[in-house]
Amino acid sequence: MLTFLVLQGIALWMFFRFNRFHRTVFLGVANELTGSINSQVDKVDDYFRLREENRRVHRMNDSLLNLLKTNYNFPDTGLQVVVDSLKFDTLKTEYRRYVYRDAKVVYNSVNFENNYLQLSRGANNGVRDNMAVINSDGAIVGVVINVSPNFSQVMGLLHTKSRVPAMMKTSLAAGTIRWDAADPRFLTLDGISKDVEINKGDSVLTSRYSYNYPPGFLIGTIAEVKVDQATGFYLLKVRSATDFTSIQQVFVVENLQREEQLQLNTDTENILNQDRR
């Protein structure tokens, strides 16, 4: 009886602690172990999703090819392309904000209320907590919540605790993306008031005001528009741009200015607190 209570106690303590902080005993060691098994199984699993993955990579290449300078002709022959040299001078007028690293998904589920992914890159490859994860075609997948030396765990959009700052592509109205744990193809968008015009099929992008996610990446498209009469806000159903059943290769995005932004935040709060005396 006593042993039962003790073991129950340990289990429940782990459960509630993990829900709050996403940390638990031996998680690093366990992560390495499950990661090595997962990556073996994944070698086989990959073959079933190659077609989807190929299509995504091709689409991404297509969008990048279209950005090339050589695609554009200038009708006026007197006009020349002049590269602004100021950008490259020693005064360093531009700062890099986002760094992309490639990674391989080795484990992934969609059947639960809280779904996690495991990536085959960890602290040794520069992956840290709170980095955003995007799919091979640039759609949002989730955010890194825990890293071990060679693997990392990602909280996907299909997680009841996932909150992603989002904006509408046309009106730039800001809201929050959640998941209601019902259907892995659909997400919910909250916090947009009904005076903004929204149509079925509109794109939902990541917000410019996020610390983790790079702005302007596709989250999904509006699938259903309803208005909550009580609050005057929309109840929007969003079809996820990422097919969570067939994720294979992803990019981990690091915001190089994240620390600075957070520091500024805490500093501002400190100043406000001082004034209140």
């Binding site: 039962f4 073991l7 289990a11 998680l27 969609v110 059947n111």
Partner: protein, 177 residues
């Protein structure tokens, strides 16, 4: 094969099947979540000491938890059914069966009716506790009730299938899912 080695293999197979087959099946419906791994605890021999039963339950749950990244969730449910198991066996089955004739719970040894009642009670307990813990974090009460019912039904279906497909001949060798 000794009991120890046999059960270590069983645990490995149950966990691998749960993680790489059942957890990966395409999404059918939010209420249909197939669980089978806890049958490992149902299948442990009758003469397992209660203390080791608890620790085995703890390890089983924890292994799955680390794969699914839900530390403590399945552990708590497994420890609960490992604790309740001896009481259920005490009520349902005569001493003669448990101590002399048969080695571990199985439909052949106990009879289908008794075995299914035994499996049903523990499955229901496991799922109720599991879904309760999840529900504390998220969801409505109606969701909770439906989910307990549906997951239990799916698990019972799986258990029946496994018992029919792999009848364990108790003396000679082991067949696992």
């Amino acid at each position: 094969m000794s009991d120890l080695i046999k059960n270590i293999f069983r645990l490995a197979i149950f966990i691998l099947v749960q993680v790489y087959v059942l957890n990966k099946i395409p999404h059918l419906h939010r209420f249909i979540i197939p669980y089978l791994y806890f049958v490992f605890i149902l299948w442990l021999p009758f003469n397992t000491p209660r203390l080791s039963l608890l620790f085995i339950g703890f390890i089983t749950g924890l292994t799955l938890d680390y794969f699914k990244l839900t530390p403590g969730l399945h552990t708590a449910a497994c420890v609960l059914i490992a604790y309740i198991r001896p009481f259920i066996i005490g009520i349902l089955i005569s001493k003669e069966v448990t101590e002399l004739t048969f080695h571990e719970p199985s439909p052949r040894g106990m009879g289908w009716t008794q075995y299914m009642i035994y499996a049903f009670i523990l499955t229901l307990l496991h799922h109720t506790y599991l879904v309760l813990l999840e529900w504390l974090q998220f969801g409505s009460f109606l969701d909770f009730l439906i989910k307990v019912g549906s997951t239990t039904a799916v698990s019972m279906l799986l258990i029946t299938t496994v018992e029919l497909m792999f009848p364990r001949s108790l003396k000679y060798r082991t067949n696992t899912a």
